[in-house]
Amino acid sequence: MSIDLKTVKHISKLSRISLDEEKAKKLETDLNSIFKWIEQLNELKTDNIEPLSSIAETKLRLRKDEIKSKNMREEILKNSPNENKDFFVVPKVVE
């Protein structure tokens, strides 16, 4: 199965990565060569095989829901790309 330019643009939308026409075409070529190589998995019959999602097939541990870290509001906000000491600032969302 091949991936066309329209699909590449759709994936770029889903990935929230804007692409110009040239990059999209390059990715079309790359993705097709990668997926052509990946297709060899179809040689294998896997109907009754249980999928493996994690190597650590143990039950997740439970713990009390309690706050352990100190209030780091200011330190955390310092990494915010738009300067504002109180909030994370984003472009206007609601008109």
Binding site: I3, T7, V8, I11, S12, L14, S15, R16, I17, S18, L19, L27, D30, L31, S33, I34, W37, I38, E39, Q40, L41, N42, L44, T46, I49, E50, P51, L52, S53, S54, I55, A56, T58, L60, R61, R63, M72, E75, I76, K78, N79, S80, P81, N82, F88, V90, P91, K92, V93
Partner: protein
């Protein structure tokens, strides 16, 4: 006494413990050498002044019971270090200063180590040559045209060039073992769950593991001992009794059964690699081990499986880089536009490619055909190892299909780059421990490595096998210091 920089980690530790060398002397030596080695482009962030301060503090009241007493160490820039810039070699994180410390690095500092700086790597650890870093290629100290391997390329290069006595990397598909093999050093990927993933910039969470990169096997055992711990902050951390790997290191491997998987004899494998593998078998026989031919029938499906699973997990993990809470931002006309422009400008080509692959295989209509299929094949690969470990104690393979390649050689063909990890990726998919040790040189004079794969949590066994082989191999590599500036 030989030069400080020529001492192995373990030798430096004993010299500091015997008060023959101070932490300040060792730290100063490594800083001087690092300053003269800028041509290799190994450091992204230097913390030299702070390191000297800490070394003096250590010397003023030395705690010599620590395992890494006052030992200076540069580390891969994928580990979050509190108040020290952590970039994962990406533009999108190029101004990120963590407010917390990764568990593995905290373990190092708790045992006396001192941070020298943060080392270059492939962007978000995605690459096998260190060519995807936003901060430029790392150069191998072996030759100016040569890649150090990746993704822990800065770590491998700094270690081989003696800019740090030892270092740590992370390994998702071979990112410790392949660069170790390319630079004539030792690299160990521990069992999944041995070292905490807390505070490591996430790439593929079901595959990522941190591990030691060192000049010899003894050092790897010592460093693993410090790095590995049970950690409540990592839900996949495994609570088991961790051995004293370095204390228990032994050359007695008599009677150990070592498997040689026929599927690793890939098409077009060079005679040099064949010979290296054959030599490895003979060394093991000399040590009293028994060689057994085995089969791991699903080996050839490991790489395509990996290139579904790893990008799928990466596409979710990297969704957090949206230009809102930290990192780089490009302004946009609205929120979505800002996300798209930020991610487009902030990620490099390889990272974008993998996010796109991951998004595609997880997207509606393709999930079953790709992602679920890959998870099923992953089960088959793991079963191969489970079955064979009923019969053998460990497996011997080459670490890589070739020695280090030249910068630019493979960067235009993603699949040929991915094929580099053909011998290392199955180990990550099955969550097993694997160690690469330097085992010889090819005809160009470049290092080649052999890999020993073990059962889950059987690091001691593969360390012992590597330790025994190291003695027989007696690997020598004379590095010409062409890169040094005065």
């Amino acid at each position: 006494m030989s030069n400080i920089i020529d001492l192995t980690l373990s030798e430096l530790v004993s010299n500091i413990k015997n008060k023959k060398i101070s932490s300040n002397e060792a730290t100063s030596e490594y800083i001087e050498r690092s300053k003269k080695s800028k041509n290799l482009n190994t450091y992204i962030e230097e913390t030299f002044e702070d390191a000297l301060k800490k070394a003096k503090e250590f010397d003023s009241k030395p705690d010599l019971n620590k395992k890494l007493p006052g030992i200076p160490m540069a580390i891969k820039d994928l580990f979050c270090t509190k108040n020290v810039k952590t970039t994962a070699s990406s533009k999108i994180l190029n101004n990120f200063i963590p407010t917390y410390e990764s568990t593995v690095t905290q373990n190092l500092w708790n045992d006396g180590a001192i941070l020298l700086g943060k080392l270059n790597c492939d962007e978000f650890a995605m690459g096998s040559s260190n060519e995807t870093s936003f901060f430029g290629n790392v150069i191998s100290p072996i030759d100016k045209d040569l890649v150090p391997g990746g993704s822990s390329g800065g770590s491998a290069s700094a270690l081989a060039a003696k800019l740090t006595p030892a270092t740590i990397g992370t390994d998702t598909g071979g990112s410790i073992r392949q660069p170790a093999s390319f630079t004539g050093t030792v690299g160990l990927k521990p069992t999944y769950g041995s070292c905490s993933r807390y505070g490591i910039v996430a790439f593929a969470s079901s595959l990522d593991q941190a591990g030691p990169m060192t000049r010899n096997v003894n050092d790897a055992a010592l460093l693993l001992e410090v790095m590995s711990s049970f950690d409540n902050k990592d839900s996949t951390s495994v609570d088991f009794k961790r051995p004293m790997y370095s204390k228990d290191l032994s050359k007695d491997i008599k009677g150990k059964k070592i498997g040689i998987p026929k599927e690793y004899r890939v098409d077009g494998m060079s005679e040099e690699i064949e010979k290296l593998w054959e030599d490895g078998k003979n060394y093991l026989k000399d040590c009293g081990a028994e060689i057994i031919d085995i089969s791991l029938p699903h080996t050839k499906f490991a790489l395509p499986t990996y290139y579904i699973v790893a990008p799928a997990e990466a596409s979710s993990n990297l969704a957090r880089y949206d230009g809102v809470k930290y990192g780089f931002r490009t302004q946009g006309n609205n929120l979505i536009d800002m996300y798209e422009k930020t991610r487009s400008a902030g990620f490099g080509d390889e990272v974008k490619r993998r996010i796109m692959i991951g998004t595609y295989v997880l997207s509606s209509g393709y999930y079953d055909a790709y992602y679920l299929k890959a998870q099923k094949v992953r089960r088959l690969i793991k079963n191969d190892f489970n079955n064979i470990f009923q019969k053998v104690d460990a497996i011997l393979t080459p670490s890589t299909p070739s020695s280090a390649f030249k910068i630019g050689d493979k960067s235009n063909d993603p699949v040929s780059m991915y094929l580099n990890d053909i011998f290392t990726v199955p180990v990550n998919l099955a969550g097993l421990p694997g160690i690469s040790i330097p085992a010889g040189l090819d005809k160009k004079g470049y290092p080649l490595g052999l890999q020993i794969i073990g059962k889950s949590f059987d690091e001691q066994n593969i360390l012992n096998i590597a330790y025994s082989m190291e003695d027989k191999i007696n690997f020598k590599f004379n590095l010409k210091e062409w890169w040094m500036n005065d």
